[in-house]
């Protein structure tokens, strides 16, 4: 039997870190990259809203009521003569803020509690798990509506409501992963060395569960954006006259026959940004977890 040439013995894949490999797998996923580009464009649009918007989003105008889309008004004007294009651009702020912030809060609430449940076990785990079960037994949107209703209508309250409603998913995910990690040799070894439980959770378990958390967080952002739009549509989120895609759709409904463009553009914005986050989430899942790659 011939000896292998040296370059085949040193496997080239071994030199790359898992993160690099994941990045490469992600970049190969064309739809996911397209999704990421759309997300970046929306984030830039929201950040640079004052520069991109062609008009003051709240400036009403008697002479420009319900104008159809044109070169002056890209997306037309609404029932108060406000420029829809500028309102859609500014509205991205409310939607993206709700998406990112509420999921960030949900992570901050859910992950430590889930890790605690998984690592502590016993009655702590039982109590936390029952609370998470109870919250998950109320459908996400209904829980968010109820919380927002009791907190009062405001964008901040809508975000709090969404964050709380989204957190049990992370509790469950972190708990499950902590249980799985607890059974592994490296955590066992760390425990044998006398590490306290908080250190086990923070240093040894958390870094290993980041990939599934990242995937879930991306998909949760998509859900949170829909939830914010839904709450604003119902009047429980962003309050008028501040622009938000959901509340724009609500008022558009009254002028469907006369001014259909009012309903088309804000909805299209929600759809595109949610689609983009879902694409990124799917791509991340395939890239970060080789096991789940399409069979």
């Amino acid at each position: 039997m011939n000896a292998l040439p040296p370059e085949r013995i040193a496997a080239p894949a071994a030199r790359q870190s898992p993160a690099r490999l994941a990045l490469r797998r992600f970049l190969r996923h064309r739809l996911a990259v397209a999704g990421l580009i759309v997300v970046v464009l929306f984030v830039l649009g929201a950040a640079l809203a004052p520069l991109i918007a062609t008009a003051d989003p709240n400036a009403t105008s008697w002479s420009a009521i319900r104008r159809a889309p044109s070169a002056t008004y890209f997306f037309g004007t609404d029932e108060n003569g406000r420029d829809v294009f500028s309102r859609v651009i500014w509205g991205a702020r409310a939607s993206l803020a709700a998406g990112f912030l509420s999921v960030a809060v949900a992570l901050f609430i859910g992950v430590p509690i889930g890790l605690l449940a998984g690592l502590a076990g016993g009655w702590v785990d039982a109590l936390i798990s029952r609370i998470a079960d109870a919250m998950l037994s109320v459908p996400f949107l209904i829980l968010a509506i109820a919380l927002a209703a009791f907190l009062g209508p405001a964008l901040e309250n809508a975000m709090i409501a969404i964050a709380i409603s989204a957190s049990p998913v992370f509790v469950r995910l972190a708990r499950g992963m902590a249980l799985e990690a607890k059974a592994t040799d490296w955590v066992e070894a760390a425990r044998a060395l006398g590490n306290p439980p908080w250190r086990l959770g923070l240093v040894h378990v958390l870094p290993n569960i980041i990939p599934p958390l990242l995937v879930q967080a991306t998909l949760s952002i998509a859900e949170a954006i829909i939830a914010e739009a839904s709450l604003s549509f119902l009047g429980l989120g962003q309050q008028p006259p501040a622009p938000s895609w959901g509340s724009m759709l609500n008022s558009a409904q009254r002028f469907l026959t006369q001014a259909p463009w009012l309903a088309i553009f804000p909805g299209l914005a929600i759809f595109l940004v949610v689609l983009a986050f879902n694409l990124v989430g799917d791509g991340l899942r395939d890239a970060l977890d080789p096991r789940s790659e399409k069979r």
Binding site: S137, A146, A222, F233, A252
Partner: protein
């Protein structure tokens, strides 16, 4: 089987107790005094405020309020609407059949689209059929259903004039008219679930088609059609049945916005109207009822799983 049921109930009961505490606790989030809200113009009159507090037992300590509330809930008394002046349980029972009709139709549409699309894309994996089916699923999952609803009204009611844009006729009143008023909202409501079902059916079918018994069947020369429809599909559908039952519960939540857009007087419209009227007992009642339906559905899902999967019966 009995042991399993006992264990399942041992898990459900604490969950329900925690749930009741959480729903009762919602009230505490309210900024300000409910008595002031209810008194309205008479808020300056301490007599009125005292009367409201006594009537609603707001002057009692919290644990007592909770025990009183949960005691009533257990005998089917979900409280009394502040605004409509009717028992909350009665209002819910009145609206539930409407939403149930809508959700059932949506579910049928979702199954009719999602399951065949999933099978097709699994059997024709990596072909244009697969890509199109995946694209449609992603579309269904990402589409905010209230926007889809508005767009469909724009097309089918405003432009084409085929279907009524809003309103509801009950099944007993006029069957076909009832279908005409609910078909569009049901489709809107069903698209998201169709996408989820398609993805799960596809994954389950791919899993089943990779099994040894499928290879054996093919090796024996069984026709591909029989392999797919009889050998693989029957096994692949087991998880899909469980998931489908739970997805039915999600339709109830989706109905909130769909009913709002098509002005259908169901469960979802009830909670939204209650939110605007600050009719908090109704909000609490609807949340509690949805959670109970959801818990019941997940129990049904488990039982169905046992029914369709003989291996589970010994457990």
């Amino acid at each position: 089987m009995l042991r399993w049921l006992a264990r399942r109930f041992a898990q459900i009961i604490p969950t329900l107790i925690v749930l009741s505490v959480l729903i009762f606790g919602l009230q505490q989030l309210m900024p300000g005094d409910p008595a002031l809200i209810l008194a309205g113009e008479e808020r300056g009159d301490p007599m009125v405020l005292a009367q409201i507090r006594a009537e609603l037992r707001l002057d009692r300590p919290l644990p007592e309020q909770y025990l009183n509330w949960i005691g009533n809930v257990l005998v089917g008394d979900f409280g009394f609407s502040w605004r409509i002046r009717e028992p909350v349980a009665k209002l819910i029972l009145q609206k539930l059949p409407v939403t149930f009709q809508l959700a059932s139709m949506a579910f049928i549409i979702a199954v009719l689209i999602g399951v065949p699309a999933g099978i097709l894309s699994a059997t024709r994996r990596d072909t244009p059929t697969d890509w199109i089916a995946n694209g449609i699923a992603l579309f269904g999952i990402s589409m905010p259903n209230f926007w889809l609803g508005i767009m469909m009204i724009l097309l089918f009611s405003v432009e084409l004039g085929w279907l009524p844009p809003s309103g509801y006729v009950s099944l007993t009143e006029d069957f076909w008219e009832s279908i005409a008023t609910t078909i569009m909202p049901a489709f809107v409501l069903g698209t998201g679930v169709a996408g989820v079902l398609m993805r799960h059916t596809r994954a389950a079918m791919l899993g089943a088609l990779a099994q040894d018994y499928v290879r054996t069947a093919r090796a024996k020369g069984v026709a591909e059609r029989v392999v797919v429809w009889k050998h693989a599909l029957r096994n692949a559908l087991i998880p899909v049945v469980t998931l489908g039952t739970i997805e039915f519960g999600r339709l109830l939540a989706g109905a909130v916005l769909t009913e709002q857009i098509f002005t259908i007087p169901g469960f979802g419209k009830l909670i939204v109207d209650a939110v605007f009227n600050r009719d908090y007992p109704v909000v609490q009642g609807v949340v509690l009822a949805t959670a109970l339906i959801f818990v019941a559905l997940s129990l049904v899902a488990d039982l169905l799983y046992m029914a369709v999967n003989p291996r589970m019966r010994q457990a």
